[in-house]
Symmetry: D2
Subunit: 468 residues, 4 copies
């Protein structure tokens, strides 16, 4: 790609190309942007879904008169999708929603409530067991078929899976992309506009220094139009600490909002306690600390627990919508999504530089976390590639909470890749959601959870689900 | 001292010289050894106790015909004790047993059981608040009056206080000395003798590689007479995991044994879970992990919680015994104690080298723990000084539990020395005994505990005890 | 400043404000830019020069109708200039050209040829002795009078002096700014335009990844308009290795060109040997390696040695030009200089982000060089401050040459600030220009050089100039 | 071995078992010691030499009535020697003396004088090219046939070859053993005895803290019988700086002394300059710095250059002596050699602990040198294995000279093992003996040297000897 000069057409491999969410956002963004010529090769274990998305993609392209530039095909194999790709996007669902339902339900039987269950805690841990081998296979294929490609991972658990990509193929040019931090940037834009007395700033105009690990991210500096916004944020957090705040009130009838949004109480509380603002959504932040902190009383803290049952219903709706799009329903009005991927692609290929928060191995960008751990900080996307921007260090009292998660994630990746099943339960025990329930109950819960997902695991790990 | 050549007489300053325990052990050991000429200068806030101990010391010396060599005096000030000292021993009680009673009783009201309460957990944290300023004063005085002296710290919380010594006077030649590891060495000696079929080994003949932090120490290699003892220990731990084991059964009528000894069940359990043997006593190890692991069911795990009320009774007995010694009661029969201090003094001054586990700032001897953290590993004592021996690294699943304690301790020392009161509660919250009780209750407990010890704290910290 | 909101007027303290070079560039750039409101306070030991520059500054401002926005004053003291400053620019001459003449002439008597003599080698070392105490004084004053100010250091030896600023006042928000890397960016722009067949790129459109230390910088990745330019540069370097290359031939009659420019032969040679492109000017690069490599045959390598005698003549011309400007001569036509300072100021205060190569303490941005060493890499300037961008690592064979310079610089700063005169000669001995002349001759040269500049040194260092 | 209990018989594989020097020392030491039961399996490419040594070994054993315990056999293959070995000793000559003659003679033609030529400098570098592949083969075989064996490497270049062992088989339990440091310990013993006024100390009674890399080692602390000997050493070095000192004067007629011994002038000079004592022999130390420092005037500095021609003559004499021993000549009188290997074997198998200076990968024992570099410090040999003792850090001015050698060695090992021929010349260029001769001459010398040894190199490296 780099040698193709200026009149470039990129090959983009989309793994999980039957996706009902991310893939359509990309289609919309590429069409809306109008400057990129690309062949998007969709690969999915569900081949029909990939084919459907290819058709929908061509509809998007057609509407924007981009069919000369944008081409979508469904590919029969990972190899076919990857060979010669300039970019790879990985957006898969590790296992099924049924598996995910177990990840939530079994811990609940042991008294552990999880708001998401896909990152840390018992749910995130077991999901990682399923997902790491899948990502390992993809990383190896990238090493073989397109070793120079830029690789954007959108799959959770983000830190663990981005770590697996690098562990399997260390030269990979991958980053993990997550949009959680947009929320605090929107709040900061609100504050900046309020201060200016006019709507001068969108979230993209707010610069924030991000540091932490995916879904447990923090902001310790913020700026809009040259104004320091951090002091103001802290005052705002103290002011609304007790009741929370949201630009638009939560409509309890809107299930999506109820299950995915929050009133910032957890973010404000972390800000007041530790002096830096929590950056991810409250339901993510809450899963990294003992459940007595926030999860036990999530209603009081005003954030929802996302039921898998709702995810299943939502998927059904999305499938119906996709089928409708496929058979001629009107496309949504043209507008860019909030995903950064198109901006990132353009920056990497000579367009305007892009700086945004992404997940990368720590090569010094974040002091206090171990080298090689997957950390989330800003990085510069440019013709030079992806270069982390130095983010500094968390306050000591917070680092002591964040760092063990990062270390556990690194050790978990190594154990799964090495099929070192004996290493897993000891790691599981130290998760702060698991640890307080006691040794015997934690061990029993671990066996139950593994047993429930055993059909998704490599043989060497599956036997952990059996009674001792 | 080093320049005095071979016919040396050392000046030993003993801070806390009215001690009822350590000081008399030293007196006995010096007299029994018979090769060291020394002037032991006892300093204690309780001047009468120091004077009593000076008299007892002279009795010990007299019995062993060492009055030519050993001289004991009570000194009126820190300055008088330290000036020109070759060695300093620090063995003080931070605060009183009444303070310690609060350290245990208040957390108990919040559902937190502590077996010792002097190292980590809420009790250890608050004790550190009291003790760090005291040790800081001693360190500064050493820097002024005897900067080249070797300094042995015997006071708990050991890691935190040894860290405070180095933080205040970085050139200090100090180490923290703790005898907890002797217990596992005795057990290993038992196993080695059993294997040999004869009593060939005492605990001093068993070499162990120690790593961890004080009271949360581990052994990952052991050897006796060239035999690898680690494999055998692991088998023994598995064999006795369910019921525990002790060479002599615990007599429930013996309060001391009941409150201070254990059946090794915690050590065996840690060995089975993490692959390395726990090295400190069970009641210490149990305090570093959530109380649901061991403390909640200490009777099932067969170790005692040490009541402060018993400590007070024991002290009364010791005081009576000291008074008796002072007025002519028979000295105990001559025998070396298990303390290493006399061996260490001799090794530092040209006698046989000594290798033993001590607490020192991490300068590379323990991988995986941060530089500067106070870690417990073996060190070599010789005419060259105290040099840590490289100890390797803990298994990942254990390191993730040990390291945050070490980081919290470092941050705690810095916060107290800087009188940064705002930094304390956030650190307190992450202790695994505190963390599960929830944010509000933890904050209330912190205030209660500080309020109870407020008379021992510097003004800048004392105000933390007031309601928010 | 940050709290002034958008209608900002900045206070800029210019230390060395009588400068004949940098100060007038800033005046021109500020006037040309037209968007910045500022009070520029010039301070110089030569008060008359500062006053003259203040008058010239007002002429520039007047021409661009900026007198409402731009105000220049000469200040009577460091304190007056710094108090309340938002920005500080440091551009002083450590010592005089007479001192610099000794820095060149004395080593020449020992067979050491220096092309510049202000960075490393014997000249750079002795210049550092003079300059570090001066910068230390400025750093301390910044800590007192404007601790939050952004501080741009333009003074050589850049690495050493930026290091001194941070050592004296660790919270300083300083960076060292140097334009040497522009040269390779221009060459890369030439190559990019040649490839495109049109003049599409200026040097600002060429992105380069810079790594190394000031004046010994390298580029290992380059991009223009999405095209990878590194492969092309390497081919070009090989092609022109033997004869060098320059867009415009060197006119031997043009003394400035002859003494300051080069034919890129050293850069090309380093590129061919080590696989990464030398980035600074050849006369700088040549001073970091033994003189047998390039300096011995500088004519063959086609770069000049800059005579101090020429610098003195040039200064006389500049003084005359300044006097003329001061008395009404026409200002140069309005055009931006190549200095980045105005862009940097704007980026820091809410304008467009700026990424460029600057000198900062290593906090992880450059692997392989020690933490705290002053390294030159890209940094992001934005409302969040100055954040280094991760630059990767030099090839091992080059790192082994670069790193000792960085270590020597760090040790030199520490020794001068501690007035540890005994540490200096041992450090001096290991410089690659000094080292080969032998121990006795090097020591004699050191004494000669110190003796020649003894009037500029603190008493504790001055005595090094005396015979042993 | 560890599991054999106390009545152990060890299997010792001796690679290079036809050795004329080290092997016979071992035979003498084992016989003299009288406590070790062992089967020593000699392997040598020169099978006849191994067989001869096996016969001589049995004679030694017989004299000491050890034939029950000690058995020597010559083995036909590496596999036969290694399989099941408890200990491995590696003592080979990489290439022949003819090769070594080129290592010295070719640089001499370029004006580079080398006193030894087997460690660093051009000779050491080229020797490493030959030797690394040989050691790599041995390391791989150890990994296959006796992965738990303790491995003592005696072969030079020591640092590079010990590094190669660990790079090829990271779990190897190897150390590099070198007796150079004995010299300074003898001198210190002399000083200690002088101070005591009696012969109280042998070199084994002198404790020294060793730090550096093999043959470029330093001592910064020394102690004998509790006396600090470092201050006295420094005074002695200053006193004898000008003329040197040796307990017995050098007899110019004694070739061996003339070529291998020194008057300590280099050691004293380094001590005076850098504040820590040089520890290796002067002829080794001198090769790590520019030849203008010491090598150019080795006679003035009173150390010899060892001619390869003399080595060849010496070998002939040794061969004759070996043949005589083989055919009944009287064995030398029983006495222990100065080699530590027997003490080390005993310490590792349950005998008295041994602390001595050895070469190991840096895992924290030496601050300031990179992790993984092979450093020389003290290590503890005990039943727990080989554990480095923390050695501290060199003075900054010395570290800046030592560290690049260590980095070059690490990079050299990696380049040779990866057959990365392009990486070699750039590394070669930065050696301080090579660097000053200029780029073109250095490149030509490199080609000449490679060409002369090309028959000993793997194909991938051999082509470097061809003209560019």
């Amino acid at each position: 790609m780099h040698n193709k000069g200026s009149i470039s057409s990129f090959d983009i491999a989309y793994i999980g190309g039957g996706s009902l969410n991310w893939a359509t956002k990309l289609m919309g963004d590429l069409a809306f942007d109008g400057t990129i010529a690309a062949h998007i090769r969709l690969f999915d274990l569900d081949q029909a879904a990939a084919e459907r998305n290819a058709r929908i993609g061509m509809r998007y392209a057609g509407r924007a008169d981009q069919t000369e530039r944008l081409r979508y095909t469904a590919e029969p194999s990972l190899k076919a999708a990857l060979t010669g790709a300039d970019f790879v996007i990985i957006s898969i669902l590790p296992g099924s929603f049924d598996d995910m339902a177990h990840d939530i339900a079994i811990p609940e039987r042991y008294g552990i409530r999880q708001s998401v269950g896909d990152t840390v805690g018992p749910g995130g841990f077991i999901r990682a067991l399923r997902a790491i081998p899948e990502l390992a296979e993809i990383a190896a294929a990238i090493g073989t078929f397109c070793p120079k490609a830029y690789v954007c991972n959108l799959t959770n658990p983000m830190s663990v899976l981005t770590g697996a990509l690098y562990k399997v193929f260390p030269e990979i040019r991958a980053w993990g992309s997550c949009h959680e931090v947009i929320k605090i940037r929107k709040l900061l834009a609100f504050l900046a506009n309020r201060r200016r007395g006019e709507v001068a700033f969108g979230y993209r105009d707010v610069k924030v220094n991000v540091l932490g690990i995916n879904h447990f991210t923090f902001v310790d500096a913020a700026s809009a139009g040259g104004m320091d916004m951090m002091t103001e944020y802290m005052a705002f957090a103290r002011e609304h600490h007790a009741d929370g705040w949201r630009e638009n009130p939560i409509d309890p009838a809107d299930e999506h909002v109820r299950y995915f949004e929050d009133m910032n109480r957890v973010k404000f509380d972390l800000a007041c306690r530790f002096g830096v603002a929590g950056a991810a959504g409250d339901r993510h932040l809450a899963e990294f600390v003992p459940q007595s902190w926030y999860l036990d009383e999530n209603e009081r803290w005003k954030f929802g627990l996302t039921p898998v049952e709702y995810r299943i219903r939502e998927r059904t709706e999305k499938q119906a919508a996709a089928a409708a799009l496929d058979t001629g329903a009107a496309l949504p009005p043209p507008a860019p999504s909030e995903e950064a991927i198109v901006e990132q692609i353009k920056a990497l290929t000579g367009g305007p530089e892009h700086v945004g928060n992404v997940n990368l191995p720590n090569i010094g960008q974040m002091q206090g976390l171990p080298p090689g751990a997957i950390v989330e900080t800003n990085a510069r996307f440019s013709g030079l590639g992806i270069q982390p921007v130095h983010a500094g260090r968390l306050p000591a009292a917070l680092e002591v909470i964040v760092r063990p998660h990062a270390e556990r994630q690194t050790a978990l990746v190594e154990a799964v890749l090495a099929r070192d099943s004996a290493a897993l339960l000891p790691l599981f025990l130290s998760d702060p959601l698991v640890s307080p329930i006691g040794l015997d109950r934690a061990a029993q819960m671990f066996r139950d959870m593994v047993a429930a997902t055993t059909h998704r695991l490599p043989e060497a790990l599956a036997r952990l689900g059996k009674a001792a």
